[in-house]
C-alpha cells in the first residue's frame, strides 16, 4: 500500500504538486489521472525518492522508498521509457538492475519473456521501438515481484494489441493482491482496467473515488445556464433544491433536465439566455474536473 500524505513540491515560484494526499490500496488498480503537466510524474518521482518533496511524505507500509530494506522487491516502478543506455542489450540492462537490487539473475529471462521481449532480449536497446522500451521498463518493474507497482503512462508507445495486453496484466496483478497505480492523461486509456480514480489538476487533488462513483456522477444532468438576472436564477435553484456550480463556461445546474429548468424559469419569469445540456459520459466528467486547469504553466 502506498500512502501519499500532504505531498508538496515547489520549483522556485512554481508549485508542481500542492498538498496532495491519497492512498493506493492493495488488490486494486488505481488510475492516476490529470492533464499533462498536472504533476503526476513529479508525484511518482517523489514517492520513489528521486525527487525530494518540499513537504509531505510518501510511504510504503509506513516506510519511505529509501527506508525499504529491499526496495525493488517491495515496489516496482516504470517511469518514462528513455532510461536505457542504447548500447546495452535488454538482458544486460535487466541483469545490471537485478544485480543492484539483489534479485536472482534467473528472474531476468522470466520477466523479459513475460512482457514479450524473449526473442529481443539479446538486442541492443538503441534499436528498440517505443513500445519495446515500454515493455522493457515494465519487465524491470516486475523483476522483484513487488507488492506495489507504479507505472507512469505505461500505454505510451504501445500498439492497440499491447494496450489490451497491459490491461489484462494490470488486472491480473491486482487480482494477486498487489497495489497498482497507473498514471495517464487520458481516462479512456485506463477506464476499462481501473477500480479507483485519483484525478489531479495543477498539482492538486480534484477527485478521488471508485470509478463507479465517478461514472454515477457522470450520469447526473449537467446544464449550462445563463440568465439575464443571475441572482434570480440562484434564488430559483435554491427554491427548487438544485445544485448550482460554476463551470468553465459559466453557471452549471446539476440535477434537473434542461426542460425542467426551462419550465421553472418560464414560470418564475426569469429570462434565460442559454440553456445547454452538457455532453455526458465519463470522459466529459473527467474533462469537467480538469478543464480550465490548462496544460500551459
Amino acid at each position: 500500500m502506498l500512502e501519499i500524505d500532504g505531498l508538496t513540491k515547489r520549483f522556485g515560484p512554481l508549485t508542481a504538486v500542492d498538498d496532495l494526499s491519497f492512498t493506493v490500496p492493495p488488490g486494486k488498480v488505481t488510475g492516476f489521472l490529470g492533464p499533462n503537466g498536472a504533476g503526476k510524474t513529479t508525484t511518482l518521482r517523489m514517492a520513489l525518492g528521486l525527487t525530494r518533496p518540499t513537504s509531505g511524505t510518501a510511504t510504503f507500509d509506513g516506510r519511505t522508498y529509501q527506508q525499504l530494506p529491499a526496495p525493488m522487491r517491495h515496489v516496482g516502478a516504470a517511469l518514462e521509457a528513455s532510461s536505457f543506455h542504447p548500447g546495452r542489450t535488454a538482458t544486460d540492462h535487466a541483469a545490471m538492475i537485478a544485480a543492484g537490487a539483489g534479485i536472482d539473475q534467473a528472474r531476468c529471462a522470466q520477466v523479459l519473456d513475460l512482457v514479450g521481449l524473449g526473442s529481443a532480449a539479446g538486442r541492443r536497446v538503441g534499436g528498440f521501438s517505443m513500445g519495446m522500451r515500454a515493455r522493457l521498463g515494465l519487465a524491470v518493474a516486475l523483476l522483484g515481484d513487488p507488492q506495489v507497482l507504479l507505472l507512469d503512462e505505461p500505454t505510451n508507445g504501445l500498439d492497440p494489441e499491447g494496450i489490451v495486453w497491459i490491461r489484462d496484466l494490470l488486472r491480473h496483478l491486482a487480482d494477486q493482491g498487489k497495489a497498482v497505480l497507473v498514471s495517464s492523461h487520458l481516462l479512456s486509456e485506463v477506464q476499462q482496467s481501473v477500480d479507483d480514480v485519483v484525478i489531479i489538476a495543477h498539482g492538486r487533488l480534484v477527485h478521488a473515488s471508485p470509478l463507479a462513483e465517478l461514472a454515477a456522477s457522470a450520469h447526473e444532468n449537467r446544464t449550462d445556464v445563463a440568465a439575464a438576472d443571475p441572482e434570480a436564477l440562484a434564488r430559483l435553484a435554491q427554491d427548487q433544491g438544485w445544485t448550482l456550480t460554476t463551470g468553465p463556461s459559466g453557471t452549471v445546474l446539476v440535477g434537473p433536465t434542461a426542460a425542467e429548468i426551462g419550465h421553472a424559469a418560464f414560470a418564475a419569469g426569469i429570462e434565460l439566455h442559454q440553456l445547454a445540456t452538457q455532453r455526458g459520459g465519463l470522459e466529459a466528467a473527467f474533462l469537467a474536473l480538469t478543464e480550465g486547469q490548462g496544460d500551459i504553466r
Binding site: 536505457f84 543506455h85 541483469a95 538492475i97
Partner: protein, 270 residues
C-alpha cells in the same frame, strides 16, 4: 549479498555491458604505444641533434623515460572512464533505474569510486602493453637497451598502475561535479593538456621555481610515475616524492567526488 556488494556488482556490470570499455582499451594501447614509438625513433635517430645543454639519459634510464610517456598520454583514459561512469548516467538517464535499484545515493557514488579502481588498473595494463609492443620491441630491434631486465623499470610500471588508478578516481569526481558528459571530458582534456602544461611553463619564463605547481594534478601524476618526459624536456616543475604525490592526487579525487555528491548527485533526478 549485502547492499554494498550488490551496488558494486551493478557498477561492474555497467562497465562491461556496453562496448565503450574495450573500444577505449584498444585506443589506449594504440595511442600510448604510438606516442612511445615515436619518441623511441626520435631519440634513436635524432639524438645527436638534441640540445647539448639538455640532460639526456642513456641505456635503461632512457628506456624508462620513454615508457613513462605511457602515463603522460594514457592517463586520460581511466579518467574518461571514471567521468563517464557518473556523467554517462545523466546523459542516458540511467540514473533513474540505478537509484531505483539502490536509492541510497552516497552508496551508489561510493560504488562508482571503488569500481573504477580495477578499471584504472586494467587501462594501466593496456598502457604497459602499448609500451612493450611499440616501445620495448622497437628498442630491442634497434639494438638499444630496453630496460626490461632492470627491476627499476618494473617498479615504474607498478607506479604507472597506481597513477592510472588515481586518475580514474579523479575522473569519477569530475563526472560527479560536472554531470554533463561532454563538458566533463572537454574540461578534463582542457585542464590537463592545455591549462596545466601552460602553467607549468611559467617557471621557465620567470626563471623561478613555483613549488605550488608541483601539486597540480598532472604534476602529481608524473610524480606518482616517478619519471616524466615533460619534466625533463622543459626542465621545470620539480617532482614530489611518491607518498605525497599519491595522497595529493587521491585528495583531488576525494574532494571532487564529495563536492559532486553535495552539489549534484544528491539533487533531484528527472
Amino acid at each position: 549479498m549485502n547492499a554494498y556488494a550488490q551496488t558494486l556488482s551493478m557498477e561492474f556490470r555497467k562497465y562491461f555491458s556496453t562496448r565503450t570499455w574495450w573500444a577505449l582499451l584498444l585506443v589506449t594501447v594504440a595511442w600510448t604505444g604510438m606516442n612511445v614509438a615515436m619518441m623511441v625513433f626520435t631519440v634513436h635517430f635524432g639524438g645527436a641533434e638534441m640540445d647539448e645543454d639538455m640532460f639526456v639519459p642513456a641505456g635503461d634510464d632512457l628506456a624508462r623515460l620513454l615508457y613513462s610517456m605511457g602515463t603522460t598520454f594514457g592517463f586520460v583514459f581511466p579518467a574518461i572512464v571514471g567521468a563517464m561512469s557518473v556523467a554517462g548516467e545523466y546523459r542516458h538517464q540511467t540514473l533513474t533505474p540505478t537509484l531505483l535499484a539502490d536509492p541510497v545515493r552516497w552508496r551508489v557514488l561510493a560504488a562508482k569510486f571503488v569500481s573504477v579502481v580495477p578499471l584504472g588498473a586494467l587501462y594501466a595494463v593496456a598502457v604497459i602493453v602499448g609500451c612493450l609492443l611499440l616501445g620495448a620491441a622497437p628498442l630491442a630491434l634497434l639494438g638499444d637497451a630496453t630496460g626490461l631486465g632492470d627491476g627499476q623499470t618494473w617498479e615504474m610500471f607498478a607506479r604507472m598502475v597506481l597513477a592510472m588508478v588515481l586518475w580514474g578516481l579523479v575522473g569519477v569526481g569530475l563526472g560527479a561535479l560536472v554531470t554533463n558528459q561532454m563538458v566533463a571530458i572537454v574540461s578534463l582534456l582542457g585542464i590537463t593538456m592545455f591549462l596545466e602544461p601552460t602553467l607549468r611553463m611559467l617557471p621557465m619564463l620567470i626563471g623561478n621555481d613555483i613549488p605550488l605547481l608541483s601539486y597540480l594534478p598532472g604534476a602529481l601524476g608524473d610524480s606518482v610515475t616517478g619519471e616524466s618526459m615533460y619534466t625533463m624536456l622543459s626542465d621545470q616543475t620539480s617532482l614530489v616524492s611518491l607518498g605525497p604525490a599519491v595522497l595529493g592526487l587521491l585528495a583531488y579525487g576525494v574532494v571532487l567526488t564529495v563536492a559532486g555528491y553535495f552539489l549534484r548527485f544528491r539533487k533531484d533526478v528527472g
